[in-house]
């Protein structure tokens, strides 16, 4: 008995030494849940200094009815992990065509949002709340599009496992402030190599699963790993939204002046085509 115990301990020591000496699979080191989520936030929302993409969203209802949202999205980071500017120009459907949407995003406070309605030549300020508003009627919330601050949740590393052949961290996040947040708990499967979320599960205030995110296609573009196809599915209603990012370009040196009322009213052709 005694000898066996000693052997067991010895084996543990051996493993510990080995794991220190030899990096584990995919080269990931031991990091905390908070750090995983910080890196995931930067990987998903801040790659490059700026970005342009054509986004196609398919909104599919439980009974198979399909709606399309097509837009050009521009993003510029003022600081890595900090303030950002977004510019979204809608191509489809007809009732929102040529509408432009501008967001000035700040860490730790509500974003400023403007909408230009071309038929009235009207610039409106939008009072919508990021956390609970659906983006253009899709299953994605505003927060899903422009990111939720890492510090808004308490994170815990649940386990490490393989998902579709990739090594992942599974992190559980709970909002620090329940008020105004749709989910009570979120599980994220964060890829150890790219730090992109491969899957997310959102649980509602009753603790039931209601939304599932999946990264369906990853591509390396100009050295940045990018989710080029993603789905958000509401498992309670059966409604889902598939978003495809096409013609993704990084580091275009977008000018700050692009994100002003001037271009909200008259978006330059080269920026939105």
């Amino acid at each position: 008995m005694r000898t066996r115990n000693t052997n067991g301990l010895g084996l543990l020591w051996l493993f510990a030494l080995l794991s220190l000496a030899i990096p584990s699979a995919e080269g990931a080191e031991k990091i905390g849940a908070e750090e995983v989520m910080k890196r995931a936030y930067l990987a998903e929302y801040y790659p490059g200094d700026d970005m342009k993409a054509k986004v196609l969203m398919r909104l599919v209802s439980g009974d198979g009815k399909e709606r399309i949202r097509e837009m050009t999205m521009l993003r510029k980071d003022l600081q890595e992990g900090g303030e950002q500017r977004y510019f979204i120009y809608f191509h489809r459907p007809p009732d929102v065509r040529e509408m432009t949407f501008m967001v000035w995003k700040y860490p730790r406070r509500n974003a400023d949002r403007w909408l230009f309605i071309p038929a009235l030549k009207l610039v409106r300020r939008i009072a919508a709340d990021d956390k609970r508003s659906s983006f253009v009627g899709s299953d994605f919330s505003y927060e899903d599009i422009s990111g939720r601050g890492v510090e808004e949740d308490v994170h815990q590393l649940v386990r490490e496992e393989r998902l579709d052949g990739r090594e992942v961290y599974v992190v559980e996040s709970r909002p620090r402030e329940a008020r105004g947040t749709e989910f009570s708990r979120k599980l994220s499967w964060i890829d150890k190599t790219t730090f992109l979320p491969l899957k997310e599960e959102y649980y509602d205030t009753r603790g039931d699963l209601y939304k599932v995110f999946s990264a369906d296609e990853l591509k390396e573009i100009q050295g940045f790993w990018t989710i080029t196809r993603r789905t958000m599915k509401n498992v309670q209603t059966g409604h889902r939204t598939e978003a495809t990012f096409q013609e993704v370009r990084y580091n275009l040196k977008l000018s700050d002046t692009l994100f002003t009322e001037r271009y909200l009213r008259a978006p330059p052709a080269e920026a939105v085509r």
Binding site: S61, R67, P93, A127, G137, E261
Partner: protein, 419 residues
């Protein structure tokens, strides 16, 4: 008349657009087809028809852009109107955009100009409006009328300067008795189809060119704007010849400002304007609208998921009110020095934002009148939208803005296919 004449001018360009194949770079053709019908729901003895809205409309939007060059934009409505028994072609917008300098944008032609902060309430947005379209249930875009103008926008650092010259006057579309009955200040009664009012527009002379200016600057999350205008009232607020029933558009200057930005998880705005009635600065002329001060404060916020609430408080203060009261002929309807107006907007989106329930309420505690605009909109598909709505008016007196419209309550349905 003017619209028809201009249409002739534009037709070759418009038709030229159609023969250009759609794959030509920078060319686009879009628009919608719409049928709309609206019925009066209360008896109105002054109107022969119960139909207030009955039309088929095709709107075509043609745009041609040249790489790093100008852009041409034309928006034309082809309208078959059962209520008016007329077929009309209306060039809604037709302009060219050009940027001769990196910080200068020019827009020349027929264009809709909008600025200011109010929601269906306008102080510094003095540009022409079509109130009839608003009251009978056409799309909200028809509230705004285009101006034939040159607009220059200059961007200097954080400040943008918009200067507009409007050489050709466009009037508001106001109540003249066609379709809707209204209170006739000349005879102090409600009149309708046979109101026969003569509207005399300002002469088309270079000196009558209207000018408008806006300076806009953003301070953090707050937008601050200053406005100026010199031209005419766009509603006929002057009486030239009472027996002939001739109204005119008195000269007007407006000076104002606004600020808008986030307050308490919502958006708040404040706007004010001084309306200087240039043909009656002393306020003693009973035939010309007095000068006034207009104040607006508004607040909008999301109360819960896909539900927004908007509140506005608007005050119009007549200046030289004592001279107004002493100069009024006997029997003229009384007016208050202060007109208070409250508005409420409730919007709930449902079913992945394909259903929109909305209610807009105007209520004036001083005039004791109201105007309700309930609508239900359903996006049947991405292309096809149906809207069911109503315009409901009422008031204690016949002479107030909404009280006069009491007999015009209507319910309408619109079906729009966009492409």
């Amino acid at each position: 008349m003017r619209r028809v004449a201009l249409l002739k001018l534009w037709t070759p360009i418009l038709l030229g657009g159609f023969v250009v194949p759609s794959h030509v770079q920078g060319f686009s053709l879009h628009g919608f087809v719409e049928v709309a019908g609206g019925l009066r729901v209360v008896e109105d003895s002054t109107q022969p028809k119960d139909l207030v809205l009955g039309e088929g409309r095709v709107q075509l939007e043609v745009s041609q852009e040249w790489k790093a060059g100008p852009r041409l934009f034309l928006k034309t409505d082809f309208l078959g109107d059962v209520a008016d028994e007329a077929v009309t072609v209306d060039l809604r917008e037709g302009y060219v955009d050009y940027s001769p300098l990196p910080n200068l944008d020019l827009r020349v032609g027929r264009q809709i100009i909008t600025w200011g902060t109010g929601d269906f309430l306008f102080i510094n947005d003095v540009f022409p409006k079509d109130y009839i379209s608003f009251f009978i249930g056409r799309q909200p875009q028809y509230l705004k009328l285009a101006s034939d103008a040159l607009k220059a926008s200059l961007f200097v650092g954080a400040v943008s300067v918009d200067l507009v010259a409007i050489p050709f006057f466009t009037a508001d579309t106001v109540l003249t008795g066609e379709r809707l009955s209204f209170y006739d200040g000349l005879t102090n009664q409600i009149v309708g189809k046979d109101a026969s009012i003569v509207l005399t527009k300002p002469a088309r002379t270079p000196a009558n060119t209207e000018w408008a200016l806006r300076l806009l600057r953003q301070f953090g999350s707050y937008e601050v704007a200053l406005y100026g205008f010199k031209g005419f009232f766009h509603s006929p607020l002057g009486v030239r010849d009472s027996p002939r029933r001739e109204l005119f558009y008195p000269e007007l200057a407006v000076y104002g400002g606004s600020v808008r930005g986030p307050v308490l998880e919502g958006i708040a705005y404040l706007e004010l304007g001084y309306y200087d009635s240039l043909e009656d600065r002393a306020g003693g002329n009973p035939f010309v609208e007095n000068s006034s001060m207009k104040y607006l404060v508004g607040y909008e916020r999301q109360a819960w998921s896909d539900f927004t609430l908007g509140l506005q408080y608007f005050v119009e203060q007549m200046l030289h009110f004592d001279r107004f009261t002493t100069s009024q002929p006997p029997g003229a309807p009384s007016r208050d020095e202060f007109r208070h107006l409250l508005t409420l907007r409730l919007t709930q989106l449902l079913r992945y934002q394909t259903v929109e329930l909305s209610l807009f309420v105007f209520f004036s505690p001083s005039d004791q009148d109201y105007y309700l605009r309930p609508t239900v909109a359903y996006k049947i598909t991405d292309q096809l939208t149906g809207v069911l709505g109503a315009n409901l008016f009422g008031g204690a007196k016949q002479s107030t803005a909404f009280g006069q419209l009491e007999a015009n309550d209507n319910v309408y349905l619109r079906l729009t296919y966009g492409f």
